[in-house]
Structure formats: structure tokens, C-alpha cells
Subunit: 166 residues, 2 copies
């Protein structure tokens, strides 16, 4: 859970503020009752800081919500029982898959509104790759080394911040 | 403490491994008994993973060491009672200061062996800036937005990884 929360911090926070134009979806596929997804919407969050332990409480609580329909039990947090394919198919934006053998992100075309798909230390399954392939515009890599998810997200945001300053 | 540990993770970890050519020094200036520094040496660490709560224990324990002379109470962890100036003066490598108004890091000359100085959400004091100024080769910025320390470190490592692949 801490790794997911670190990734959410990298996705949603800048110094002293939230990225109010960012959303992050955490997908939990482990026991006891998978799948659980939680969409975290930067523009709606009211109390979300960098303290991982403080964020863990509301997110765990929201994850008790087990319906396939999204609810908002806590401002900005949208849990639902949804799996990988269902999430990807609902993405409104074009998708960039991050993978170590992808094109250098510095050389890729990135629209302002874009979703990135990252896996944790386990690569996507073949059928998950196929679901993404149907919607993706690019497979990108953030650099020559294999990184933790939160560090990869920081690098992606930096690339977008440079191309689309506020 | 969690913010410092997140920064240490960004400095010391890649996916599935440690950055064995990296060192990180955390400097704690808050109560109860400042200053306390702890140097964490990637090549010496034996059990250091991405779990912040697991890392907190040994680091807290090491920080009880209150002598000005470094000890190694736990493999790879070197605590000492040292303040900012003393630490900076002991740095063997050239120093790059990260500050929001600095030169874009992508355009800066960065030697392979280099130390970066980052502050947390509070800027360096004037006298701290002066100590760094005596040893620094550059003031750099990682991009157009003000970021958390851990995200800035991820971006700096990415820049060095690209210039100096293993």
C-alpha cells in the first residue's frame, strides 16, 4: 500500500499544493477481495498532503466500497470494484504505456491531455498489454534504468510541465 | 521523517535494487536535539527496500548516536552530530545547488561524480547559501514547477542516468 501511496503523491502533488489538473487511479489486484480501483481527483481533494500515513486512512476506508459503480465516500476519492480492462476501456484520453523498451519520452509526442499506464514491479500480462494496445498512442520509456513507479511518474510530470507550463 | 525517507528512497533505489554508486545525507534540524545528520551509503546497505516504515526503525535508532564523529551502528548508516556548514565543507565532490531560479539541469554541465544540495519546503538561509556558494559549480532547476524533494531527486537521477549509463 505504501508504494501505491508514494505513486499517488508523485502523481498528485507539487510543493505546497496539489496538481489540480491531475487524476490518479490506483488498481489493487491482491487479496483479500480484488479487484479494487480508486480514482483520486486532484481538483476535488480537500485534505491531501505528502504524509503517506495520513493519506492511508481515508483511502483504506474508501476501498471498503465494493460496488462496480463509482461512489465518492470522501471528497475526491472514487472507489469501485473494477479490473484492469474495465478501467482502461473507460479512459477518455489517449493512453501512453510506460515500459522499459519504449521510445524515449523526450522524443515522443505527448498531448496535453493524456493518460499514462504504469505497472509495479511485475510487468503487465499479455492480455492486459492487448487491452492497452487497442487504445494507446505510444509506448514510452523514461530513461535507461528501471525505476520505481513514483520516480517514473515524477519524470513524466516533469516532461509535461516543460512542454505545457501553466 | 516520512518526507526525508521518501527522499532517501528516490536517492538510493532503482527497481529491484539499490543505486550502489549513490550516497544520501539527511540533515535533521528540528527538535529535540539538532543537528543530526545521517549519511546512507548505497554500496554498503544490506537490507534497504522501498518500504518507508521498515526503513524508519534503523534510521531512528542510528540517529540516537550523538557524537560529532561518524559511527556506523548499522551497516551503511553513518550518523553524526553535524550541521549544514560542517557537512558541506566535508563534501569531496563538486556541488550543484538545486533552486527554483537555477539554470535548467538539462543544459548544465554535470560531472559523473557530483553532489546535489536540496532543501525541503523551506529555502536555505542566507548563511547556508554562502557556505554552498564557496563550493558549488552550478545552481540548477529541474523544471518550471516547484516540486517535492523526492520528485526533484528522481529527475536529477534521470538526467545523470541518461548522461552516464552504466
Amino acid at each position: 500500500m505504501d508504494l501505491l501511496l508514494s505513486a499517488a503523491n508523485a502523481a498528485l502533488l507539487v510543493a505546497h499544493d496539489l496538481r489540480r489538473d491531475a487524476e490518479c487511479i490506483l488498481l489493487l489486484l491482491g487479496p483479500p477481495d480484488p479487484p479494487r480501483a480508486i480514482r483520486i481527483v486532484g481538483s476535488l481533494l480537500q485534505s491531501y498532503g505528502p504524509d503517506i500515513r495520513a493519506n492511508a486512512g481515508p483511502i483504506r476506508k474508501a476501498l471498503h466500497h465494493a460496488s462496480r459503480i463509482e461512489r465518492e465516500p470522501c471528497r475526491g476519492l472514487f472507489p469501485a470494484r473494477r479490473g484492469f480492462s474495465e478501467l482502461i476501456e473507460a479512459f477518455p484520453e489517449p493512453i501512453v504505456l510506460l515500459r522499459e523498451d519504449g521510445k524515449d519520452i523526450r522524443d515522443a509526442e505527448l498531448p496535453r491531455d493524456v493518460s499514462f499506464v504504469l505497472s509495479d514491479s511485475v510487468d503487465l500480462l499479455e492480455e492486459e498489454e492487448a487491452v492497452v494496445a487497442a487504445k494507446r498512442i505510444e509506448v514510452c520509456s523514461v530513461g535507461p534504468r528501471s525505476l520505481h513507479t513514483s520516480d517514473a511518474i515524477a519524470i513524466v510530470h516533469n516532461e509535461l510541465d516543460r512542454r505545457y507550463p501553466e
